[in-house]
Symmetry: C2
Subunit: 367 residues, 2 copies
């Protein structure tokens, strides 16, 4: 038996169509006024903002809306969301939308809890806490609804980075209806974010008995969707399944952290504007060949329904649609930055060399 592990997932998961309205009573315990943190458009179009407002009103909870969070929120935007609402008597935050508003909600929640600390200061501190966060994802990918992480963009460091506090949402409402109307390309790159969480959590030094059973189920659910991704069409049932796989990916990385594809991929999103899920998928080509536990790798391939790593790579190459050119100079700079940040490489079981990092970037090129 595997010994010495921990498992901690304090978020209450509430899953199913109309779950916000059906189970709004949990919101009541969190306080009398909410700040809804969301993006400019999508939560208005997919019906999720209406549901959040209906659920809050049903429980006699007042609310304010900050709808300025789209992709890759910055430290400055997090500060602004707090500044605009600091005197509103906010007792909890609803992060509504893609991963970004949920991640931003967690960081904003820290500023409400620790008055007087700026977002920039909090970013460099440890063990801060947040006021309660409610996560309502409207994509299937980030898993942010069940993780303590808050990924923010830092223009000073020219990359994306974890805000660094442990902010598990208190509640996660998972309603697949919000994803039914999403366009296929957005479903696909989010799906690859979920996929990379499952794989990076499974092939991770921190993997344990509990994370493995969750990862294996998530990988099995993802594997069943392979053909649907090729056909570029998912039924509502398949979207339900993808949302569950995505949440399982979040559960896994909430315990294990991510691994090389996330570590190396962030800069491709920051500098080259490759969607996050595709940026991690791009790194996979070099990454899987580096993983030395053959037995675990084959178990993963078998659960996914691939005969070999090559077959998985060919599949990713076929359906992940991006263009990326990297000069030798760029690869040298990205590689050096990675080597200067060894902490990001420690979840991979083996030591990773300069050449191996450069090779992963080289293999990510797709013209």
């Amino acid at each position: 038996m595997e010994n010495d592990f921990q498992f901690y997932l304090p978020t209450r998961l509430i899953q199913g169509p109309n779950c916000l309205i059906k189970h709004s009573h949990y919101l009541k315990r969190l306080g009398k006024k909410a700040l809804i943190v969301t993006g400019v458009n999508s939560s208005k179009l997919n019906g999720s903002l209406d549901d959040v407002i209906t659920a809050l009103e049903k429980e006699n909870i007042r609310y304010k809306i900050f709808d300025g969070i789209d992709d890759n929120p910055t430290i400055e935007l997090i500060q602004q969301a707090f500044n605009e609402n600091e005197r509103e008597g906010i007792s909890f935050i609803v992060g509504l939308g893609k991963g970004s508003p949920i991640d931003a909600a967690k960081a904003i929640g820290v500023l409400f809890r620790h008055r007087g600390i700026s977002a920039r200061e909090a970013f460099n501190m440890k063990n801060l806490r947040s006021i309660p966060i409610v996560a309502v994802p409207t994509t299937a990918g980030t898993g942010s609804e069940v993780t303590p992480y808050s990924i923010v963009t830092d223009h000073q460091l020219r990359t994306k980075k974890d805000f660094g506090q442990e902010s598990f949402p208190k509640l996660a409402y998972l309603d697949p209806r919000y994803i039914y109307t999403a366009d296929f390309n957005s479903i696909l790159h989010n799906a690859f974010d979920a996929f990379s969480h499952l794989v990076e959590g499974y092939l991770n030094v921190n993997a344990n008995l509990m994370t493995d059973i969750i990862a294996e189920k998530g990988l099995a659910l993802f594997g069943e969707l392979k053909e649907a991704f090729i056909r570029k069409s998912l039924s509502p049932d398949q979207i339900d399944q993808l949302l569950m796989a995505s949440t399982m990916g979040g559960m896994v990385i909430s315990q294990t952290g991510t691994s090389l594809p996330h570590a190396l991929g962030y800069v491709l999103t920051y500098e080259k504007k490759i969607p996050h899920g595709f940026a991690t998928a791009a790194i996979f080509k070099g990454y899987l060949g580096l993983y030395s536990d053959e037995a675990k790798l084959s178990r993963m391939l078998s659960i996914l329904g691939f005969a070999s790593t090559a077959e998985l790579m060919a599949y990713i190459d076929r359906i992940v649609d991006y263009r990326l050119d990297l000069t030798e100079d760029e690869i040298r700079v990205y590689t050096r930055n990675m080597l200067n940040n060894q902490g990001k490489l420690t979840n991979h079981p083996d030591r990773v060399s300069r050449n191996q990092i450069a090779d992963m970037y080289q293999k990510a090129v797709k013209k």
Copy 2:
């Protein structure tokens, strides 16, 4: 995909040899003085009480000990444990031992949180809370370290019953070393408690995607131990595995609740002094035949490594060692009491008739 489910398991699991000492820092957050609730002997003999004290002292936490909780604690004993310590400035409780001290700790914690409410009154109220509970199991069976339940004995009702408040432990320290010295018979009847949690949670109307993957892993771990139970000898590795299966059983019933064997078995423990795990196993003979989802039942048998229900029943009959005689009058009374308590029967997917209940008791007889 299955929709409409919830999953909530806020307990932080910390697993591995010496985990209390290695990870004592979590205790610090819970306050400055602990009440250790334990039994008279076993926690002194197996080293667990020493570990708890060392961990508390390491974190400069003061403590009091209440060591009066052995099997099947009563409402009166819970009241007494509170009364003796109510002016001690206790901020959290460590439940240490078999299921009973952990269950008692949860109930005592409610009295500390809601001063002025008696144990008898709390037993009839809903939605009370507890001061923080730390669970340190020294048997592999009840799973109480990861459930919100607190099973207490009520001599007025002449049975065991849930205290009725939702008290998940904050922390569960799982150190298999405490079980290495236990005698085989006690390991066995606790193992059947864990087994019945896995089965009753798996064959349960509240089972869902998350509980099923946990139950299936727990059943697989249990299935691998079949031969060791026949040989009446478990290696340390096998005890580690049993403890994990037991905790998984707790995780499952924390979401699903238990089913018919627990509902019908409690009275056999109260009136006939059959150990709890054997009392539920006794009911299994009649129970499994009532379960109508053949596909799920066969999946369970296949995970356990049995060819048929009959083979599983023969196995239980072979290794579960108890004697039980029931008169027709006793069966009539137990059956009537069950029928008057329909709430206990609703986790089973089908309606259960008077004859079916009487038949389960009849089949439990073993002379």
